[in-house]
């Protein structure tokens, strides 16, 4: 039987590296943008323009127009390929008068903006604050439900705390890596953490916990069935028995997500990508982190128990 649990040192190393890289990206973002994650206007308030020009534009040209209209602080980024002539501009909240002036100045000084292909969004800081509060509530509620769900699933299992803590550790592992990945894309592609990112994270977290619990369930079923086997072997057996199901179902969701990422609109791409990464990491952490953690804990406990009797 192929032993996945035996490879746990590898998994732990890979995960440790990924987590360190993620934290590193957060630090880098903090240095470059003044906050560990680039929060979208959803949360901070402000305005975000996606401008499609009818001709080549330059960052300095766009910067100058916004500055001349009372918006000296802008974050300007090119979107897509150079020939797309599409730029993203982030400023503080603008008034309709400013928007009007900016569009006519851009047409005069940079290149005409194709309004049919452009968007802008403006959110007052108050609404941003409300969304942030709501996000906090959503996260807390989700956390309580998830922990409650784990507790309920393992209420009759011996050493249920070990399972619960390991599942939660795996969940944090997933969260840190997804957030780190998104921060990296924030530096590379200008992706910002918006309400949809939060949605992606909450959705995949629930999948990943679910996935972990499926394997735990199998372990519970298998322990009385294979009494002569070590816990490690039972755990490994349970992973292999369920991995088929996990991979097959995740695979279908992954097909759909990749199709959306490749062929769907640009607006939705960061959202779906975050979800895809979350799902991949979540599937991996179920067998790579959660189960090995339980095994390590179990072994440490039985060693201690042996020492105590000896």
């Amino acid at each position: 039987m192929f032993n996945l649990v035996e490879k746990r040192r590898w998994f732990f190393t890979v995960s440790a590296v990924l987590i360190l890289l993620s934290l590193g990206t957060l630090v880098l973002t903090q240095v470059r943008f003044g906050m560990p994650l680039r929060l979208a206007v959803d949360f901070t308030g402000g305005s975000l323009f996606v401008l499609h020009f009818d001709g080549p534009a330059t960052e300095t040209g766009i910067q100058a127009v916004f500055a001349a209209n009372g918006l000296p602080e802008t974050i300007i980024q090119r979107l897509g390929r150079p020939e797309d002539n599409t730029w993203q501009v982030r400023t503080r909240e603008v008034t309709p008068e400013q928007v009007r002036a900016i569009f006519s100045d851009l047409a005069a000084q940079v290149a005409p903006v194709n309004r049919d292909l452009s968007t802008y969004e403006s959110v007052s800081p108050i609404v941003g604050g409300e969304v942030t509060r709501a996000a906090g509530i959503a996260i807390s509620v989700a956390a309580i439900i998830i922990v409650g769900f784990i507790w309920w699933s393992f209420r009759r299992v011996p050493h249920s705390v070990r399972y619960g803590v390991s599942a939660i550790a795996a969940m944090f592992h997933d969260l840190i890596i997804v957030i780190g990945f998104y921060a990296l894309m924030g530096i590379l592609q200008g992706w910002e953490v918006d309400a949809l990112f939060l949605t992606a994270v909450l959705t995949v977290t629930s999948f990943s916990v679910q996935d972990t619990i499926v394997i735990f369930d199998r372990i519970r079923e298998n322990i009385p069935r294979y009494r002569e086997e070590s816990f490690e072997r039972v755990a490994n057996r349970s992973i292999l028995e369920t991995i088929h199901r996990s991979l097959a179902t995740q695979l279908n969701a992954i097909f759909v997500m990749i199709a959306i990422i490749l062929f769907g609109g640009d607006t939705i791409r960061p959202f779906i990508t975050a979800m895809l990464v979350g799902m991949l990491v979540g599937t991996y952490s179920s067998f790579g982190i959660a189960i090995p953690l339980v095994v390590v804990w179990e072994q440490a406990a039985s060693r201690r128990a042996k020492k105590a009797t000896a």
Binding site: D42, H52, P96, V99, N114, R115, D116, L117, S118, T119, Y120, E121, S122, V123, S124, I126, V127, G128, E130, V131, A134, I137, A138, V141, I145, F149, A195, L196, L198, T199, L202, T203, S206, F207, V209, Q210, I213, V214, H244, R245, A248, T249, L251, N252, A253, F255, V256, M257, I258, A259, I260, L262, F263, G264, G265, T267, I268, F271, I272, M275
Partner: protein
């Protein structure tokens, strides 16, 4: 058992036909659309509703600009909504939405607008009240004028709305002690020059509403500095006309009888009804709106961008679903074929429901639907894997299938319930105004999950039972067709 399956098959077939009929992009008969009693009367139709991000347009939220914690009463909000709606209607757009959200927000959605900035100005424009110097010639009620303040009017009620028949102009006895004089101009003046603005609504301190034998009047008091200016002005312009202008439209033009010190005055309204009088009093007090409104968020999406998004989503959806269908067929053979049929029915039912409920589709909403379709086969996979285990353990085809469905049920229930819980949390988060995009995703994902319980369990099982009855023995000896 057989009888029940046959009935189920018929029900499934009927549902499929119905769903496909609803899905078809044809003109459905009006009587059928009228059956959708839960949709608002007059707007009942079988059609996909696209959100603003898919059709392009403007979405603005206005919030009552009152101090935090101060209550805004429902009547004022409703009046404000009505006024905003009237202004929006002046833009001549179709399918606009103006609705109150929460206690103090008004959401305006204008699909396909060409000039979003103009629209925002129209929406939030507080009616501007001015007292203008008309000289010795009174202006008729309804005349649109240009004043020294802010140039010609750009918005408000549609221009050129001058009443066809001249109404008697109400009078403005300035100050309690002034003499009332009827001022009905014999010849309506066509305004050709720019009138000087003496005071504006900002100079008003207090406005009331009262009535006497002559009808309703609006007593007002000016702020201290304005009162002084007003006193000087009236003293030097006795006998001339002072017009009250709202949004550059004359509403009355009384004659100055004598100097008015103290800053108290009244606007008499003659034969105005209570509603009209109250409306004007409100307008004077608050600008045109009963509560001041502030633009809080704006989102504009170029219409072409919306079209492109729809196109891309449809393409991504077809490609994604095709891969899922193909995968199931290749990996699970005959079983996969049954799951594929169920998945197609699943897609048709979802679309039909979106049209009937109706569910407004947004980009995240479409993503939620596609994702739910990708996960819809999850339940089937659970069943099929169990089934294969049972087959390997030497059970008969029929027994393996039944065992697969009944044993996989707890896992299916658990995973569906956890998705639904996630959807509930997300939906609640999405009801928060600034995160409304999330709602569409949570809604389509939840609807998909519920429909899936039906298609993945009932439909697939009925298909498989029928199949086994028809060609079960034949399949028994060709187990590779079941991927075992």
């Amino acid at each position: 058992m057989e009888r029940r399956d046959r009935i189920l098959l018929i029900v499934i077939a009927l549902l499929a036909i119905l769903a496909v009929y609803v899905d078809l992009d044809i003109a459905h008969p009006a009587w059928l659309e009228n059956l959708l009693a839960w949709q608002p009367e007059g707007a009942r139709k079988i059609a996909i509703r696209y959100g603003l991000d898919l059709r392009g347009g403007l979405k603005v939220s206005l919030v009552a600009d009152v101090p935090e914690g101060q209550e805004v009463d429902r009547v004022s909000m409703e009046t404000a909504r009505q006024i905003v709606e009237n202004r929006v209607n002046g833009l001549g757009l179709a399918e606009t939405i103006v609705q109150i959200q929460g206690g103090r927000r008004i959401i305006v959605e204008l699909p396909g607008i060409e000039d979003p900035e103009l629209a925002i100005e129209v929406i939030r424009g507080t009616a501007l009240l001015e007292f203008v110097d008309a000289g010795y010639v009174p202006l008729m009620k309804g005349t649109v004028v240009t004043t020294t303040l802010g140039g010609p009017r750009r918005f408000g009620s549609p221009a050129g709305e001058t009443p066809a028949t001249p109404e008697p102009t109400p009078t403005l006895p300035l100050g309690p002690a002034t003499v009332v004089t009827e001022t009905t101009p014999a010849t309506p003046t066509v305004p050709s020059n720019v009138y000087e603005t003496i005071l504006t609504g900002a100079d008003l301190d207090q406005v009331g509403l009262d009535r006497d034998d002559l009808g309703y009047f609006i007593p007002f008091r000016l702020k201290v500095e304005a009162a002084e200016k007003f006193a000087q002005y009236t003293a030097s312009h006795v006998g001339q006309y002072l017009c009250i202008v709202l949004d550059k439209e004359v509403i009355s033009c009384p004659q100055i009888q004598e100097a008015i010190p103290g800053g108290n005055g009244r606007i008499t309204l003659g034969n105005a009804t209570y509603q009209e009088a109250r409306g004007l009093a409100i307008q004077l007090q608050y600008g045109a709106l009963p509560v001041p409104l502030r633009v809080e968020t704006t989102t504009t999406v170029g219409p072409t961008l919306g079209e492109i998004s729809v196109e891309k989503s449809v393409r991504a959806g077809i490609i994604g679903l095709s891969i899922v269908l193909l995968f199931m067929l290749v990996y699970y053979r005959v079983l996969g074929g049954a799951a594929d049929l169920a998945l197609l029915l699943y897609a048709a039912l979802n679309l039909a429901l979106y049209k009937l409920v109706p569910v407004t589709l947004t980009l995240p909403g479409i993503a939620g639907f596609l994702l739910s379709a990708g996960m819809a086969v999850d339940a089937n996979i659970l069943v099929f894997e169990r089934m294969k285990e049972e087959l390997r353990a030497g059970r008969s085809l029929r027994a393996a299938m039944e065992a697969g469905f009944s044993r996989a049920w707890t896992s299916i229930r658990d995973s569906q319930v956890s998705i639904l819980i996630a959807c509930a949390v997300l939906y609640l988060f999405g009801t928060n105004f600034g995160a409304s995009m999330v709602k569409g995703f949570a809604l389509t994902l939840a609807i998909g999950t519920l429909i899936n319980l039906f298609t993945a369990i009932v439909v697939t099982r009925t298909f498989l039972r029928t199949l086994l009855r028809l060609v079960g023995n034949w399949l028994q000896s060709r187990r590779w067709l079941l991927s075992v």
